[in-house]
């Protein structure tokens, strides 16, 4: 058996850095497209924001299974090319 190839990642000059963890990506996505903001607006308290609820809203919008979890299909959907207009009005 050969040794597994060691994957090396490089920081490319001029690249817009998108090296985010999955959780960071999800949070940024939910905020950018209005899911978290709506939750904040309704509850009135930032600390009360429920990522699970926001994820469920997003999953419903995208026709995904509403798990409220950051599962593989949700993460994949968040990486797809899309329109920049928020899904939830703000």
């Amino acid at each position: 058996w050969s040794h597994p190839l060691k994957q090396v990642f490089v920081t490319f000059p001029g690249d817009i850095i998108k090296n985010m963890t999955d959780v960071e990506l999800a949070e940024s996505y939910l905020k950018k497209f209005g899911y978290l903001e709506t939750q904040q607006h309704r509850s009135g308290f930032q600390s009360m924001v429920s990522t699970e609820k926001a994820l469920k809203m997003m999953q419903r919008q995208m026709g995904l299974e509403e798990t409220g979890k950051l599962d593989k299909s949700t993460l994949e959907a968040m990486k797809q090319p899309r329109c920049g207009v928020p899904d939830v009005a703000n």
């Binding site: 690249d15 497209f33 919008q61 329109c83 207009v85």
Partner: protein, 560 residues
């Protein structure tokens, strides 16, 4: 479907749009066409009309930009966010912005329209073979002047059809040099440049001077992207350099090694490790038509839909033969109602005309929808003389006006009532003088009416017009058997009897008809004059081909 809070919508139906700038990824005519088709998606199912303005403020201002592009919502480089648009209203509301870090195409890879050569501006055909070798991109092989070219059919050796590909050595766009080509080297702020540069600009667009000294002449233009150019990175516009060295290893093709996102990239010099110059490799790109149709949906009042197959679903996916989903149609008709034109329906089966048929008088037509006022139209889809009367076509309706005198305009009448096989938008129509057959052109199809009998739709290619033509803009009769068909900047002569384009065509409109706009959207003949219309104006030409009058269609011809 969803609409914006408070059902934001336009308070008028004659929406205007203006294209502020262009992407270097596609020829401007392809971009114009993609936007026009995207608007038509919506005007086909609503009473909305979309008219292009070339200056001033339009309802929908369309622009390309990168990252921070002047509003609070920056783009994010290649992929991710593709575009955004604002709901109807004043100012930035209604505007649509497209991320120019994307590779804009028609959805299936670089859309390369040629110039010059002998292919009348046809699109490149990839792959094509040349001297036994297959090419999937434009090439400079076989030339000593370094100009990239392509074949416009699959086999150059057989068909010998070719044209030149976008290159800064051929032309620029935008800027202030009327499309002149770059001059290398050129001087900018005392430095010499041998290629297009982004220096001196904050928006990332590549430019060049069109004289040898920008500091003195101040003449410049933007460089069109070559189809082989990388996208983004730090070498936008440069081609990949194969092989290139990366982390001590040589690569002969694009690779995703070194990246966590799997995107293919390449070095643009022979050694990435030393020069660190790179970019993403060209891919299928995003269909500007599909993305624009989606964004224009926002611009006229629709929010994102939850229906996966709807145009207003937020994610991009490419579809070959696009049609609006029921959800999109219901959404937009909730805001504006149904189009007052006919429903899209399959054309009736073509029937062969019986040569013994007497020409039938036009059926009794009754005006429909008197609120449709010809005097309120900014322009018309087509204008022509039928049975001695001037006819004006627009979005499923037509009006007519007797050829002589100042008699009032009649209509609107429904196109579908009188000519049931026709679609709502007619680009050109003409009457054959001898047989009184009526020819109607819409997009790439045409119909021939003899009385009530109709032949068609048939492809305009059958007449010998090139595939690249998206529509026929106008027609002028030449005697009894020939008709000049205008499209874009060219015209062709149709032998009506043979139903074929004569050899020796196309010819350039601005050479044969000097002084009229070479992007007229209506061309017709009336009372012995040729008329070329652009926007709300007409240029009238006499039989000696001299422009003897320029005026308003509305006041001078319609007598509004």
């Amino acid at each position: 479907y969803q609409t914006f809070a408070g059902d934001l919508k336009w308070d008028h139906h004659d929406i205007t749009y203006r294209i502020i700038n262009y992407s270097p990824d596609m020829e401007s005519s392809l971009i114009d066409d993609a936007f026009a088709r995207a608007f038509k998606v919506w005007s086909d199912v609503t009473p909305l009309t979309f008219t292009r303005l070339f200056d001033g403020t339009a309802d929908i201002m369309i622009s390309f930009g990168k990252e921070d592009h002047g509003d609070p919502y920056p783009f994010d480089g290649k992929d991710g966010l593709l575009a955004h648009a604002y709901p109807p209203g004043e100012g930035v509301q209604g505007d649509a912005h497209f991320d120019d870090d994307e590779f804009w195409t028609l959805g299936k890879g670089a859309a390369v329209k040629t110039r010059y050569g002998n292919a009348e501006g046809a699109m490149c055909h990839f792959p094509f073979t040349f001297q036994g070798k297959s090419y999937t991109t434009c090439t400079t092989d076989g030339r000593s002047d370094n100009l990239p070219w392509c074949a416009t059919t699959a086999d150059y050796s057989r068909d010998k059809k070719y044209g030149f590909c976008p290159s800064e050595l051929l032309y620029t766009f935008g800027g202030n040099a009327d499309g002149a080509k770059c001059v290398f080297p050129f001087t900018f702020l005392g430095e010499e440049y041998d290629s297009c540069t982004t220096e001196g600009r904050s928006d990332g667009y590549r430019w060049c001077a069109t004289t040898d000294n920008f500091d003195i002449d101040k003449k410049y233009g933007f460089c069109p992207s070559r189809d082989t150019a990388v996208i983004g990175g730090n070498s936008e516009g440069e081609p990949c350099h194969f092989p290139f060295e990366f982390l001590g290893k040589k690569y002969d093709s694009c690779t995703s090694v070194g990246r966590g996102d799997g995107k293919l990239w390449c070095g643009t010099t022979d050694n990435y490790d030393e020069d660190r110059k790179w970019g993403f490799c060209p891919d299928k790109g995003y269909s500007l038509f599909l993305v624009a149709a989606h964004e224009f949906g926002h611009a006229i009042g629709l929010e994102h839909s939850t229906v996966r197959d709807a145009l207003m679903y937020p994610m991009y996916s490419y579809v070959e033969n696009f049609s609006l989903n029921k959800d999109d149609i219901e959404g937009i008709q909730y805001l504006y109602g149904r189009g007052t034109g006919p429903d899209p329906s399959p054309a009736p089966t073509a029937t062969q005309p019986d040569p013994t048929d007497e020409p039938t008088p036009p059926p009794t037509t009754r005006p429909v929808n008197p609120t449709k006022d010809a005097c309120k139209m900014i322009n018309f889809d087509a204008i022509t003389v039928i049975a001695g009367e001037l006819h004006f076509f627009k979005d499923g309706y037509y009006w007519n006006k007797p050829g002589k005198g100042d008699e009032e305009l009649r209509g609107p009448f429904s196109i579908s009532e009188r000519w049931p096989a026709l679609p709502p938008v007619i680009d050109t129509a003409f009457e054959e003088p001898l047989t009184k057959k009526l020819y109607f052109f819409s997009g790439t199809r045409f119909w021939v009416y003899t009385g009530k009998n109709v032949l068609g739709p048939r492809s305009i290619e059958k007449l010998g017009l090139p595939k690249s033509i998206q529509k026929v803009d106008g027609a002028l009769q030449k005697g009894t058997a020939k008709v000049l068909l205008f499209s874009g900047e060219n015209f062709w002569r149709l032998d009506v009897k043979a139903q074929k384009i004569d050899p020796g065509y196309p010819k350039q409109t601005d050479i044969a008809f000097a002084g009229v706009p070479n992007d007229s959207h209506d061309v017709f003949q009336y009372n012995g004059h040729y008329y070329f219309c652009r926007d709300r104006f007409y240029w009238r030409m006499n039989s000696r081909r001299q422009v003897d009058r320029v005026g308003y269609v509305k006041y001078d011809i319609l007598k509004c």
